[in-house]
């Protein structure tokens, strides 16, 4: 039940945020500081999520096959590979390292 509530609140909230942007008069959100903060918050959260989902295992920090997969994704990104290749590289390398070591 809790999961359903979380799903519903996320859906409503994410939709409200999208509609808000389309509906509010400009000016309110267009202050430079607000804009800057709005651009930087996703950067912080995506960086944090990447790190946690790569090195987190419950409450422990571990370095496992996922780290190798992420390194491959990072290399693909630096080579300006398309989105698909970046995600694909992470999946393939993680699976390969796991198959070789596990």
């Amino acid at each position: 039940m809790t999961v359903w509530i979380a799903v519903a609140v996320t859906a409503l909230g994410c939709y409200a945020v999208k509609l808000l942007g389309l509906s509010v008069p400009a000016g309110l959100l267009e202050r430079p500081l607000v804009r800057r903060l709005a651009a930087l918050v996703p950067v912080a959260m995506l960086a944090a999520l990447t790190a946690i989902q790569t090195f987190g295992s419950g409450r422990d920090l571990v370095v496992d096959a996922r780290a190798a997969g992420l390194a491959a994704a990072a290399v693909a990104l630096l080579l300006r590979a398309p989105f698909l290749v970046v995600v694909g590289a992470a999946i393939v390398v993680t699976a390969a390292v796991r198959a070789l070591t596990g």
């Binding site: 939709y15 389309l22 709005a38 651009a39 946690i52 992420l70 995600v87």
Partner: protein, 217 residues
């Protein structure tokens, strides 16, 4: 056109990864599909199921997903000028305001092609994303343990790819580095889902610190 196809395939693959990840995190088929149908913003969806799957506090998981969704409000703001949508269409169009549709619309030279680009990208992505989510969630059972296939690396790779497109300057890099340090330092200490929220503070911290530096003569 080739770009549109590339985006379509990439989104298709990440929709599949989302379906598998969500099922692996313990969400039901219906819950997984409802997320893709009604949340329809990938990073928030991955963040929510990741936090729930790690046994995180649901409130913190939802807060993290919503924080990530806030950027769509700023896309909406720019798109409302660009597309000048008539009132009745607005609530419908709002649902499609995400990274990819905004990027395509903003790249067009005039209003007509921006509207067309937004609509075509929206229809394609919405259809594909939901279809592949369903396939992924259904396939998860057949695949068994998603980690054996390396699919647990899909979520972080999606985050990294989105992050890569946002790292444009020194301030962005500083925020990202500080956020990683904060998140990993908090992980052993705080309940799941909360470290990401703490890491979000990296944005205002860097903004305040760099402003002070600029203000100095």
């Amino acid at each position: 056109m080739r770009d549109a196809l590339g985006v379509g395939v990439a989104v298709g693959l990440s929709g599949f990864a989302f379906g598998v990840t969500s099922a692996g995190a313990g969400l039901s088929l219906a819950q997984t599909c409802v997320l893709s149908l009604f949340v329809f913003t990938g990073a928030s969806q991955f963040a929510l199921v990741g936090a729930l799957g790690a046994g995180g506090n649901p409130a913190a998981a939802v807060a993290g997903a919503l924080f990530l969704g806030v950027r769509n409000a700023f896309y909406g703001l720019r798109l409302s000028h660009l597309l000048r949508l008539p009132g009745p269409v607005r609530p419908l169009a709002a649902h499609w305001i995400i990274d990819e549709t905004s990027a395509v619309a903003m790249a067009q030279p005039d209003r007509a092609s921006a509207r067309l680009g937004f609509t075509v990208t929206g229809v394609t992505l919405y259809t594909l994303w939901n279809l592949t989510t369903l396939l992924g969630a259904l396939g998860a059972e057949a695949l068994g343990d998603p980690s054996a296939w390396g699919l647990d690396a899909a979520g972080p790779a999606v985050f990294l790819a989105l992050l890569g497109s946002m790292l444009k300057g020194r301030q962005e890099t500083l925020v990202a580095v500080l956020a990683v340090v904060l998140a990993l330092a908090c992980l052993p200490l705080l309940p799941a889902g909360v470290p990401v929220l703490v890491a979000a503070l990296a944005a205002p911290i860097v903004l305040i610190v760099t402003r002070r530096k600029e203000a100095r003569p």
